[in-house]
């Protein structure tokens, strides 16, 4: 069991380290794509709140009407204990 635990932890660390500590790309291969800069002092957007609260358990829903989104969010506010602020921001994101 200990060997299995160590092996699983090793695999997990290897996978994480490839993402977290990836070597910087050489100048020749760097792609100059615009990046979204997240300012932590600015209130999170609806999309960020969706990813932080909802996206950690499930994928975004397929197309829903604004009335359906409202019902789903009321349901999830109770289930996932969303704050009122999160609920409103995600509602605006999913049903602008």
């Amino acid at each position: 069991m200990k060997k299995l635990l160590i092996a699983l932890l090793g695999i997990l660390l290897l996978v994480c380290s490839q993402k977290l500590f990836a070597r910087p790309q050489t100048p020749a291969t760097v792609q100059k794509t615009p990046k979204t800069v997240v300012n932590k002092n600015v209130p999170a957007t609806g999309e960020q709140r969706f990813q932080a609260n909802c996206g950690r358990c499930h994928n975004p829903p397929d197309s829903l009407s604004p009335r359906e989104v409202k019902a789903v969010l009321q349901h999830m506010r109770v289930r996932a204990m969303l704050s009122a602020e999160d609920e409103q921001a995600i509602l605006k994101y999913l049903a602008p």
Binding site: M1, L4, L5, L8, I11, L12, V15, C16, K19, L20, K40, P43, A44, R49, Q51, A52, N53, G55, R56, C57, H58, N59, P61, D62, L64, S65, R67, E68, K70, A71, V72, Q74, H75, R77, V78, R79, A80, M81, L82, S83, A84, E85, D86
Partner: protein, 340 residues
């Protein structure tokens, strides 16, 4: 069975009649088919989970989740003809009053809020088919409670949320609606920018002499990488244990149109240490060590395939556990024409 369907239909009719014009009751849930081979004993489980959510204005919500679960297995475990039975039940049937941004009052039958697995990981969200070994700790007798609950976000800041739930439940022996006499609560802190959540749970079980049950949980979804790490620990007089689970998507993009983003690898390790068994605690009679490894593939149209292999080590039996599951998740308005 008829009672479950009857209650669901009555709820649907009531919600339809009472709901204001701007509120749309929704019917969601999942259809699933599971195949399991545990120590050579094969079983199959077709399951349907209808979920109804009917908002009544901005403050009231009626929610219900029924479960009709079939279990088809050989008569003598490894031999004999296959026999099947279907067991209907209600996971929850509750009325919520969302008082303000901090308090929601719930009355009726609700999922027992002990740690996070019971409330947040129905089969269409759980990464592995099998529930953790320690799942019965804090959730007996049926994972649901009949009574009242207060819950919500006590404090909400840009960098953290403090959440709570407190409940009391009465003993119910009615078929499909069983619950234990218990009281308890949960407190958690969520750091959305770091994707970290930690919390603790407590339950005082007030039957069979009374006992204290406690647990703690941890979740981490680091925003830059598609990794999902979760762990729970629970302790009861009957035994204690923990599980740690990691799930990884093979691409960081959230675009679900490529196969690497649809593929997810999952691994879970768990250990259980038996204590002094109490009647009806639904816990193993011996110490158990188990690991599971699985692959999930998310097909279009909310269909998911799960396959997993696990190995269980215990003084009673060492066994291989194979699981396969197809899940279809659905969501649509409870009456035609509301999808606009």
């Amino acid at each position: 069975m008829n009672r479950v369907w009857g209650m669901l239909f009555a709820l649907l009719c009531a919600a339809t009649g009472l709901s204001a014009q701007s509120d749309v009751p929704i019917l969601s849930g999942a259809l699933a088919f599971q195949g399991t081979s545990s120590g050579g004993a094969n079983s199959f489980q077709p399951i349907i989970f209808p979920v109804l959510a009917a908002p009544l204005g901005d403050h009231w919500l009626v929610e219900a989740r029924g479960e009709v679960q079939g279990f088809i297995a050989r008569q003598n475990g490894n031999s004999g003809p296959y026999n099947g039975q279907f067991v209907p039940s209600f996971a929850y049937l509750q009325v919520d009053y969302i008082a303000d941004s901090h308090v929601t009052v719930t009355v009726g039958r609700f999922l027992t809020p002990f740690n996070t697995y019971n409330e947040r990981f129905p089969l269409w969200i759980a990464n592995l088919v099998d529930q953790p070994i320690i799942f019965p700790i804090g959730t007996r007798t049926s994972a649901s409670s009949n009574g009242g609950m207060v819950r919500g976000v006590a404090l909400s800041r840009s960098k953290w949320n403090l959440t709570y739930a407190a409940y009391a439940s009465v003993s119910t022996t009615t078929e499909n609606l069983q619950s234990g006499r218990a009281a308890g609560g949960r407190l958690g802190i969520f750091l959305p920018q770091n994707g970290v959540e930690v919390g603790a749970s407590y339950q005082r079980f007030l039957q069979t002499g009374g006992s204290n049950v406690a647990g703690t949980y941890f979740a981490w979804q680091p925003p830059p990488i598609p990794l999902d790490v979760r762990a729970e620990y629970a302790h009861s007089p009957g035994g204690q244990g923990y599980w740690i689970e990691g799930a990884y998507r093979f691409a960081s993009s959230r675009d679900m149109n490529t196969w690497p983003t649809r593929l997810q690898a999952v691994a879970r390790v768990q250990q259980y240490f038996k204590g002094n068994p109490t009647p009806m605690d639904f816990l193993p009679a011996t110490n158990v060590n188990q690991f599971d490894f699985g692959l999930n593939y998310y097909l279009p149209h909310n269909v998911r395939l799960n396959g997993s292999y696990g190995r269980q080590y215990s003084p009673a039996l060492n066994a291989n556990i194979w699981n396969f599951e197809v899940t279809y998740r659905f969501l649509f308005p409870a009456w035609p024409g509301a999808h606009k």
